[in-house]
Amino acid sequence: MSIATLTDLTIAYGPKVAVSNLSVEIPEGCVGLLGPNGAGKTTLIKTLMGFLTPASGSANVLGMDVRREGLRLRQRIGLMPEQDCHIPGMNAVSFVAYAGELSGMPRSQAMRRAHEVLEYCGLGEARYRNVETYSTGMKQRIKLAQALVHGPKLMFLDEPTNGLDPAGREDMLTLVRDISHGKGVNVVVSSHLLPDVERTCDNVIVMREGHLAREGDIATLKQGNEAHVDVELYAASDAFLESAAKRGAALVSRLGSRYTLRIAEGVDCGRLLFESAGESGAQVRGFRPSLRTLEDIFMEAMQ
């Protein structure tokens, strides 16, 4: 079952067409929305939230038509915007409670729910501080909290891990993964950091200049050709390449001390690599069948 179906949707800002007849099903769970700058990702999010009326085609989100039921739609959608945004002069609790009230929750429910969501987003101890004094990481969490407070069924996260340091990124990714699996909340993550998308999302939609470039779940897209092997040596060594070539391994690509070799069928690549290393005096630091990363898929889609 899909949470949103788009049938040849076209969206334009005056003459400039941002999205041109896009037909795609957004599946449940966590979906990655990828694409270079200017591919129409944010325009699509704006339309699915009922801000923009599409030039032609139709979009049906959570069973509601985007053109007519924008307001009712935003009742069940949460947006975590890319830019820093907060309501000035409020501390975390009153800000999140106010966001709840704006979504229609009565004041008492909003206050209770604010505490709960802040605790969940890991801002428990900083909940009485003014939002202006927050660090980048905490600002990202409060943006998530204000989007979660009214219990949305669909969340749009725009660059959730942007500008976060590795530790902050780790926490945010676990949060996104936890919400989108088994809690009845579907999440659409629009991000440029592909390993992050790889770690949280199951499906991915790649857009390019307003068109759909790739679509599907990540596991199937990553099926690479098993014949290729990524080898990492302690130090680059051409001798190793020659001895490997003697045993029937062809060089596909190299980056510093990392090589990708194509090995004939049926050959035990472990044995082959260790023998070549032994012969050429190089030290193998690791090898594995080369899996296509999401970045490779993305780059292919961009050609």
Binding site: I87, S94, R107
Partner: protein, 317 residues
Amino acid sequence: MTEGPRNSVATPISDLTYRDYDGPLLSRRLRWWSVTAGGLRTLWRLDLRAIAFWICAVLCTGPYLILGFFLWITSTVAGGNSRAFMGSAPGVRFAMLFYFALRLQHLFLFVVALIAGAGSVSADNKANALIVYLAKPITKMDYLLGKWANIFIVVFGAALVPALMLYLYCLAGYTSEGFLRDDPWLILRIVAVSAIAASVHASLVLGFSAWCRTPRTASAVYSAVYWGAWSIAFALTLRTPDEDMTAAQSLVAHLSISGVFIGLAQNIYRVTPSRFLNADFPTPPPWHVLSVVAVVLVLGGIAAARARIRAVEVIRG
């Protein structure tokens, strides 16, 4: 077998991770009130803005207190006769007290409106808060109406409460001298004048706040416009005291923002031009002219603010 305390879930350990919210939801018609309530709550805190606001609110009561005090002093000295203070010039009635107090008070009323409203939209622009508001199920009009009502209630309170205090004092002390007989509808006139002043201020402050990037520039621009208009209107009507203004000049004199609602107040209080505490008041233009100008100001301010808030570029591509 008595049941032990059972929590709502079958298993003894309840799951404290994220859960959905399916509690009650209010109807969208009242959504503008939560914006207003949010704004009003910011005046209860102990920050500089709230303190400045309460000081100005107290100053707003100043003129009424002073007039009440003088009324009390002169009437006790002259054996309880209110005419002693107000003078026996024809047409001078209790309404003159309230009109004169409003003339003295309009500076503080302006400052109250500035503190309450200058940051209402501009601070949101600066902190990019519009995305948060408009990503929620509220429309632009809810947002604007809420902000407008926030400023209106604050200024209306600052104008009405002191007037009511003086009204009650006169009611208690001077009904024997015909305070009620003199003008039974005075209380309604006071409410009307306060409402007009509050709505004019609310719309204009909202309009300027929407068009300026920071609260400081919004208050600077509104002050420049408010006092600029007042001083130009004053400069253009310099004349000798015993010389009357033609109707055109009187219109020019009232064409500043404060001129509009003070002129309307004079019409509503039906205070004919006469000398009171050696101050002279030019005859105001007729009320229907001024009320047209007032309506234009009120609607113009809201329209200007609405034009500035467009949802589309709220989320920049």
